[in-house]
Amino acid sequence: MKIRYILPVLLAAAAPVLAESQLSARGNGLQYYSSSVRASGMGLAALAAPDSLSLDLFSPANWGGRQAARFGFGSFVSQTTSSDAVGSDASDDGGVSGVGFAVHLKKGWYAGATLSPYTLLGYKWRSTDSLDWGTANIRRQGDGGISQALVGFSAPVGKGIRLGLAARPVFGKVERLWSVNFTETTANSASETISERYSGLGWSLSGSWSDGVGGAGIVIKTPLEAKIERQMVVGAGGSAQVDTTAKLDRKLELPFELTAGVSRRMGAHLYAGEVEWSGWGSVDNAAAGADQMDDAIRLSLGWEWSPDYQPLDPFWRNLVYRAGFWTASNYALSASDNQSRRTALTMGLGVPYAADRSRIDLAFEVGMAGDKADDGVAERYISFSVGFNHSELWFVGRKERNK
C-alpha cells in the first residue's frame, strides 16, 4: 500500500462524521467508544485482547506483533429510530469511524498515529407552533462532534508487557441551529446558529500485558482544556443581524478517563471484559450553558473464536467470529436530569486476506438508548461497520525484511 492511497483516507477521516441521535443533542454529543471494527464486533471489549491483525485506535500499547507496518480503517452506517410522545422517526447515518497506522521501528518499538471520533452530535427536527397571527415553523438542528488523535509510540518493557505514550490532540466543531419562519408572509424569520471550534492537547498512557493465555490492558486519558472559538450568527428576515466570532475565555473541559480490561484465551476462544470510567461529573462546562453532566461508566463483554484453520479446511474455518455486549451511561443528562443509557448486542466477522497478514472486519450492532418516560425519547438503532487492517513491509529496510 502506498502513501498516496493513505492520504485520501486520512482526509476523509478528518471530515465530520455523520451521526443522528436525538440523545446526542445534549452536551457535546454521544461519546464514541469503538477502538476498531474488531472491537465493535466483540462488545467494545478489545483492549485486553490485542490482535496482531487489528490496529487499536485507542491504545498504543497494543501496537505490536509480527507485522512491520499496519494501517487500519473503519467506517459505519446505521439507522436510528427515535420515539417520543409525538411519534417516531427514523434516520440513516454513516461515516468514518477511525483511521490509523503504526510502524515498527526496531526492537519492538512502534510509532504511529490514529484519528477517531470522541463525541458525535447530530439531531434535526421540525415542529410547528400556533400563534394568534399565524403559524411558526421551528427548526432545530445540530451537527459535528469532537475528534481525537493519538500520536505516540509504544515499547516492550518486560516479558509480555508493553507501555504506550501518546499525545492526544483534540479538535472538532459543533454547530447548532435554531430557526423559525412563519406562514405570515410579511413576518421576518429568525435564526441563531452557534458554532464552536475546539482545540486542545492531552495525553494518553496505555499498558498491556499478555502471557499468551491471559491478558490485561489499561488506558488513561488525562483531563484537558480545549480552547473555544465561537461564532454566532443571528439571522433576521434573510439577513444577518449579528455575526460575531470570538475566542472565548472559558475552556471546554474534557475529563480524566480510565479504561481497563482483562481477557483469557481458552483454546480457539477468547473472552474479554472491559470497564471504562469518564469523570464528566467533575468538569465544569457550565459557562457554556452546557447541560448537566455526570460521570459515565461503560461495561463491555466480548468473545472471539478463531477456528484452527488447516489447509484444505472449508473457507468458514478461516474466518474469525465475534460477539459481545456493552452498556454505557450517557455523560450528558437528559432534559429531565436523568442519566440515559445505551445498551447493545454485537456480532462480528473477520475475513483474512493477503496470506493472513491483513484482514477485513465486519461488525453488526443492535442497541437501544434512552427511555421515553425518563429521558423524553427512546431510541433503537442498528449499525453495520466495515473496516480493514493492512500490514505491509514498506517501511522496513531490506536487511530487516530479509531477517
Partner: protein, 399 residues
C-alpha cells in the same frame, strides 16, 4: 469501498419530524410579544400634492373644502380640409360630498402649460373663455356638456403642422397646444361634485372634447361629416382645506391632505434586549376610529406608514422628514372600527439599530388621488383601549 461508503453517507436521510423536540439541547428561541404605548402623536395638513391619476375630479365646496378641476386636451391632426361645425366637452359625474343640491358649474376654456406632476397654483389658472353649460341628466349622476364656440376650435386647430410633429393623431409635443377646460362652482354651495376623471374604467365616462366637422381627406375627396372624440390627456382637481385639524386625533386624508405622526415608547423592547438578542418578527399598529369625526366622507381603507427620519415633527409637524415606506398590508375591522397596519419593517430596523425610533408618519392611500379622510383616537383618548398601540412580536434568542 471508500467511494461506496462516501456515497452512502451523502445519501443519508435525516428525520425532519417533531420527534425529539422535547429532548432539548442547543440554542432555544422563544416567540414573545410586547405592546408599546404612544409617546406622542400629531396631525397636520400637507401642501397640495399632485392629484393626477385620480379616479374623480372634485368641483364645488363643502365642509371647509373648496375644489376646482382642470382637464387638458391635445390637438387632433387636421385633415386635408376641415370645417368645424360644432364642438362640446362631455363630462360624467356621480354623487359628491355635501348636503347641497347640484351647483352651477362654470366651464372656462384656456390655453396654458401645466402638468399633473407640477400642478398649477391657484392664481396660475387663467379665467379663460366662459362656455355654455348644458346638464343632460341632473340627479345622483349624469352628464354635463359645455358647448365650445367653433371659432375657438377652428383657431386652435389652424396652426397645427401635422407633418412637422409626429404621426400621432394628436399633438402631444407642443405643450402650448393644450386646450384646458377649467371647471368651477363658485360660492358656498355645500356640494363637491364628483366628476369622473380620465382614469375612469368605462371609456364613455371619461372627459371628452367632441368635435363635429365637415372634412375632406384629399383634394379629390367629397366633403363628408366626421366626428373627432378627443379624450382628456391630463386632469386633476385642486382642493383647498380651510378647516382646522382635529386635536388629539390621528387623522389621515386625501384631497386637501392631512397626515399624522405617532411615536411609540419602545421601552419594553429595549428591556428584552438587555438579556437576549431580539429579532422582530412582526409589528402591528392598531388604530381605533372616532366615528364622531368625518362621517360625511368614506373612511380610508388603507394607511401607508413611513418611517420618520428626524424628531422635527414634534415641534414643527409640517416639516416632517420621513422615508422608508414599505407597502404594508392593513386589516379593517368595521365592526370594531379598528385598523391594523403591519409595520414590521420599521420596527425591525429600530430593534437592529439600523435606524432610530423617530416615530411613524401615516399617510392616506388616497392622498393626491381622491377625497378620503378619517380620524382615529389619539394617545389621550379617555378609553385606553382606543389609544394607538404598537404590538411587536419578536423572537428572543440567547446571547
Amino acid at each position: 469501498m471508500l467511494a461506496g461508503l462516501t456515497a452512502l453517507a451523502a445519501g443519508c436521510s435525516q428525520p425532519d419530524g417533531p420527534v425529539g423536540s422535547n429532548v432539548g439541547g442547543g440554542p432555544e428561541g422563544r416567540i414573545r410579544s410586547v405592546v408599546c404605548e404612544a409617546l406622542a402623536d400629531t396631525s397636520y395638513k400637507v401642501p397640495r400634492v399632485g392629484t393626477g391619476g385620480s379616479a374623480h375630479l372634485y368641483v364645488g365646496s363643502s365642509h371647509d373644502l373648496t375644489s376646482y378641476a382642470i382637464a387638458r386636451f391635445h390637438r387632433p391632426k387636421k385633415t386635408y380640409e376641415m370645417t368645424v361645425d360644432s364642438a362640446r366637452f362631455s363630462l360624467a359625474w356621480q354623487g359628491g360630498v355635501g348636503a347641497g343640491t347640484f351647483p352651477t358649474v362654470e366651464g372656462n376654456l384656456a390655453i396654458f402649460p401645466w402638468s399633473e406632476s407640477s400642478p398649477p397654483a391657484d392664481g396660475d389658472v387663467p379665467a379663460g373663455t366662459p362656455l355654455n353649460l348644458r346638464v343632460d341628466a341632473p340627479g345622483d349622476s349624469g352628464f354635463l356638456s359645455f358647448a365650445v364656440p367653433t371659432t375657438e376650435i377652428t383657431s386652435w386647430l389652424a396652426w397645427f403642422d401635422s407633418s412637422a410633429i409626429d404621426t400621432n393623431w394628436q399633438d402631444t409635443v407642443r405643450i402650448d397646444s393644450a386646450l384646458t377646460l377649467a371647471l368651477r362652482a363658485p360660492g358656498a354651495v355645500d356640494k363637491l361634485i364628483r366628476f369622473r376623471a380620465r382614469s375612469a374604467t368605462a371609456d364613455s365616462l371619461r372627459p371628452y372634447l367632441i368635435i363635429y366637422a365637415t372634412v375632406k381627406d384629399s383634394a379629390a375627396d367629397i366633403p363628408h361629416d366626421s366626428t373627432f372624440r378627443v379624450p382628456a390627456a391630463m386632469d386633476m382637481f385642486l382642493m383647498n382645506d380651510a378647516g382646522a385639524v382635529p386635536a388629539e386625533r390621528v387623522v389621515v386624508g386625501g384631497g386637501g391632505g392631512i397626515r399624522s405622526a405617532v411615536k411609540f415608547d419602545l421601552t419594553p423592547l429595549w428591556a428584552a434586549q438587555d438579556t437576549h438578542i431580539v429579532v422582530v418578527n412582526r409589528a402591528v399598529l392598531t388604530l381605533h376610529r372616532d366615528r364622531a369625526l368625518y362621517d360625511w366622507v368614506q373612511w380610508s381603507r388603507s394607511v401607508w406608514p413611513y418611517r420618520m427620519t428626524t424628531n422635527d415633527w414634534l415641534t414643527t409637524p409640517d416639516s416632517a422628514d420621513f422615508g422608508g415606506f414599505t407597502l404594508s398590508p392593513t386589516a379593517v375591522d368595521s365592526a370594531s372600527d379598528t385598523l391594523q397596519i403591519v409595520v414590521t419593517s420599521p420596527a425591525a430596523e429600530w430593534a437592529k439599530g439600523d435606524s432610530l425610533n423617530f416615530g411613524l408618519s401615516l399617510h392616506s392611500t388616497s392622498e393626491g388621488l381622491d377625497l378620503e379622510r378619517i380620524a382615529y383616537f389619539g394617545r389621550r383618548a379617555a378609553d385606553p383601549a382606543q389609544r394607538p398601540r404598537l404590538t411587536i412580536y419578536y423572537t428572543e434568542l440567547p446571547k
